[in-house]
Assembly symmetry: D5
Homo-oligomer: 163 residues x 10
């Protein structure tokens, strides 16, 4: 239905048959053009089906990821993001590393103005870990934005009772 060039170039969206990879692979990520580059606006992805393996014990870990960014010229296509996140499935990594790696890959891919990644993991041994990483393009107002959002990050922690 769409006649946009960049959309047609997309490999995954609406494709016949998708193959799923369960080893970390940032090559799965694809972009399309931002139609509204003259404007700063946010796009957020809610990703409650993220899973990876503990690098020390090999045990599965589970998290909900919230990825939010202000695009510049490129935007990450959501089906490719899904495949990319699936690629952590049988991959080992600490909670803190996972969110940092995802942020780095998305910065590399899109060169966004601003981006943040928040992981909320399920508990092990009664404690759960929630890492939060953000990034603003260096030497722009977005860098200051990242600093300000970090400064006031999560001052109202959600109630957690492990049930």
């Amino acid at each position: 239905m769409s006649d946009r060039k960049d959309v047609e170039r997309l490999t995954h969206l609406g494709s016949e048959k998708t193959t799923y990879t369960f080893e970390y692979n940032p090559q799965l990520l694809e972009t399309f053009d931002n139609n509204h580059p003259n404007r700063d606006y946010f796009v957020k992805f809610n990703c409650p089906e993220f899973t990876t393996l503990c690098p020390k014990t090999g045990q599965p870990d589970f998290a909900t990821l919230y990825i939010s960014y202000i695009p510049d010229k490129k935007m990450v296509e959501s089906k490719s993001l899904k495949l990319y996140l699936f690629s952590f499935r049988n991959h080992g990594g600490f909670h803190e590393d996972a969110v940092n790696v995802i942020l780095n890959d998305l910065v590399e891919l899109m060169d966004p103005r601003y981006i943040e990644v928040w992981g909320k993991f399920t508990p092990r041994g009664g404690i759960s870990i929630d890492p939060y990483v953000n990034y603003g393009r260096p030497n722009t107002k977005y860098e200051e934005m990242a600093e300000k959002r970090l400064l006031y990050h999560d001052m109202y922690p959600e109630t957690i009772d492990n049930r």
Copy 2:
């Protein structure tokens, strides 16, 4: 009951028989006069019944829209807004485009001091997308307002588990 001129001019409100259009049509939007133009105040529309089609696959998408603005001289009439939103029903468009287009149309219509549109879509492939766009009249304090609200946008993402 009302004897206000601008209200009587409204086509849709309290009209006999409404015809619904399901192809995108910004002409459906109507305005009435702001009775309190000397004051900055907010009007918010909660629109949980928004639906459109994926431009790539043709599959229906669903969202709740939150539209919030500070009027200047004109205000959008809510029944005409309903009809306008209905006009996306069989129209194809990406999530990010929908909220940008709606914002653009309402700016065009009302020339508001400030406006923002937040879409919260249901997931496809386990991921949901929430675009947020705002606008402040250029070269006024409302432009700065838009920047500030974007800066602190959604620092407490709602909990999403796809159920």
Copy 3:
């Protein structure tokens, strides 16, 4: 029990038999003295039983009002506020006008330092409307307060699904 002059002067509180008026009447409002005028503090009224009529169709509308203010010398007595809000029952008015009128009447009555009124109405045609108005005494820091609170107003809209 109280021996305060201003409290005894109150017509409605603890009175024998109250008569209810269902046509808009700001004369119903009464005040008592602020015992703590040396201090800035907030008083909020939660009013979930507000109802009025649509001026165009005559159909009943329903809202929860949140009225919050910093008193100066006078404070609005809560039973008189109840009677005043009842007086909208069979009165016609648009949502946006109702909150503006209530704010104006309370400013007129109490000359407060700061005040705000937020209406959250039930939907018509799938869309609900939430107007928010505020006021700070001109040429004081409260005017700036009003501007700042408007600037950051409602950046986390409550989830609405019409159920």
Copy 4:
């Protein structure tokens, strides 16, 4: 991946390119074999993205459907169910008729032992309508099951405030 005959026969699941129909079409429904016919068990579909048109006014209606059944030999394939429910999109029908028609079509399709359909619609004019229909195969214990479940249906209505 599957080598089951009945699964391979499915038209929609994992197919290349799906075409969406928005006019009522029960032919879209497909079945696969029940692998556990020796056992009574329940399968429930949660369908929060159902929409249709009011037959009188043409206005869009929205509902969440809960469809729950005990299969006999055949089971409805979920992607075909999705397409079937999409086919109500531009079709006119009263709330009560929609749930009855869906139940009839699924009985016709699968000949299940037991089935029920519960629709929870969004309000119009401040009132929402929730029809509930069920069916047990005549002259079996499932017919009695249907009667018993109707007898104790919805004794704890969920709290509704239209917000």
Copy 5:
């Protein structure tokens, strides 16, 4: 759009201009034919916008009504139900009487197989009152149904804290 005779006969649905009556008037109620009389099924109305007056003090009361029934030949049309409930607006009546009267009027109107009305009022003096009335057609299994539903009525009262 509909070509059903009984639907066309309806006065209120989709009518040009509705006049609202705020004095109790059961004549406002209208019916249409049950299309599925061969089947027992439930229709529930959620009515969170019910208001009436205290017969002793004249003070407004507010409730959410849940009306649920199994139709026989006739069904109450929802817009006429809305108008009927509006007609209590300036009418005086005790909580317990309101739900009994509504049940009686609907039995008179539709001669349903089964019906129940549950009112949940807001508190006065810190106490709220929730009356529940039901009815099954005498000398049928529906009479027994009414008895059984009353027997197990509301064994899990919702948590109430007046806020």
Copy 6:
């Protein structure tokens, strides 16, 4: 407004000036006539503002009471119920005794067909106590009703975490 004899006889409702008693006094309870004695129906009182004193330590205790009954000829008037519950304020009594005494007093007062009282107290020492008492008129079906409701009482305890 009412011209009902039994309503006019009521001492408290709409009276000029109420005096509050804070020592246990069942004489405060008043009744009015049941207008619908031909029908079994429930009336429930939600009472979240109940407080009494621990008979051993004198420390205040707090509870929400849920009182639910099927009236026979008489019904307890809600304002008198409020005054009666206030009369426990400075009275000493164990949690279990309070609900038993209230049930006994209401049985004595109204001779209801069925009645139950559920108290949900706030914790002391990390443990909270919820007593539940019911009664059905002896040698009637209501006695059996009481037994059945006790049999299935509270099989889904609400989640309690003392916060």
Copy 7:
């Protein structure tokens, strides 16, 4: 304040100085007389502060216990119950054993007509365990009561997501 003999006999309630024992000790339990033995009624204890040790690993476990019973002649005093539950603090035991032991001790102590104990533990390794035990006095209707309550136990498991 109380002049009841059995209440004065209580060791713990209102005592000067309590010593806490953290090794399992059922001797800590004390009773007082049931004032209403002619009536079947329920008393429930909500105990969200239960903790014990895993007998295999020595790691602390945490649970909320819900204890509900119909007293006969004796009732367990709540402060003594608190001390008894504290006595599990440094004691090792499996989840299933803990609830069985508590039930056995309370049966031994009070000889109640009916009693049940439900433990809801926090997860280890992503899975949480909720054991439920009940008891009715043998060869009475309470034995049948226990069977019936087990039969319909927990058919609506609370939603658990480990957060």
Copy 8:
């Protein structure tokens, strides 16, 4: 167990037998030393069991109080705070006065760097009142803190529906 002098001096904590006073008495308040005076930190008391009397009608009022402060040299002992709050039980006072008086007494007692008191009362006549008072030590940065917190106070009023 503690060998801290200031802790031993405490009258109420762990005392044998406490006597409860139900007439306003600020002498009940006691302090202990702040062990961490070199650091600014918050202590909050959640007090959901506050009750007093309406000074005009004598009717009981109920509130949850949230008291939050930054200590300087002294801290209020929590059991003495409990007794102090109990002392309002049979005392008459308006909502606004109660929170102001409590703040004044705690300032007098502890000379804290910062303190705030928020009362959330249950409704009378359908309206509830929530006063909020704060204080920062004059001519310090805490005074500015008080002003800033007032400026942004309660911009997201909790949803109130009186149930």
Copy 9:
């Protein structure tokens, strides 16, 4: 710490180093002895971290499983259950098959008196699927128990909106 033979025999609990298998393997399941075989009681496992692959598309699926049973002589050890559920991670299977297979394996393992498995999956294409399977030992009262619990299964479907 434990000196129970059957507990010592357990391979996984408290073991040094666990190896995780991600291909379906029922051999991972282990049992220990039921200490309370004279009593019918329930043990429930809440398992919100279940994931498997779609057999048709290879795409990951996610569910929360609720497993509830009445043990006979043997009980499933919870760490072995965790490993067993992990073994579905890279295994392909339909939702309905997964819950049937799990039930079959646990019946085979423990020969329980009664058992049920409820899966609540996340949506694909806007629809989520919740299969429920149960089993009672044939020709015992537990078989009848299974039938009764199926008869009244899930009459109050949880609200699902895919967010």
Copy 10:
């Protein structure tokens, strides 16, 4: 699986057999290297299973702790944090001291850029206490960060009703 030196050095994570200490022991804490020291980011621990003893009465206290920090070179390993928090189990300490001590120990251990600890305890005598402490490295922007976060701390206290 990991080949990181600092990870291998960890004593507790994935160790054979853990011994639990229930007397306060900060030596239990261990660190690993921060892989992303060039970036400011947050790591939060949710710890709902914290328990200690009242130093005055010896009675167990319970809290949920939220610990959030920006790492510099070292990060606290979560299993060692668990063991450290367990070491408070039989240790006496006031609520305010516990959070201060934990913060001090973690600052000592990791020398983080920023850290905060929030304790939310269960009530004693109807009042619960929530202390909040934070720290920014002196003479850096993180010190200012600590001041700003304290300034706006907890302006929306969660609703507490002790149930």
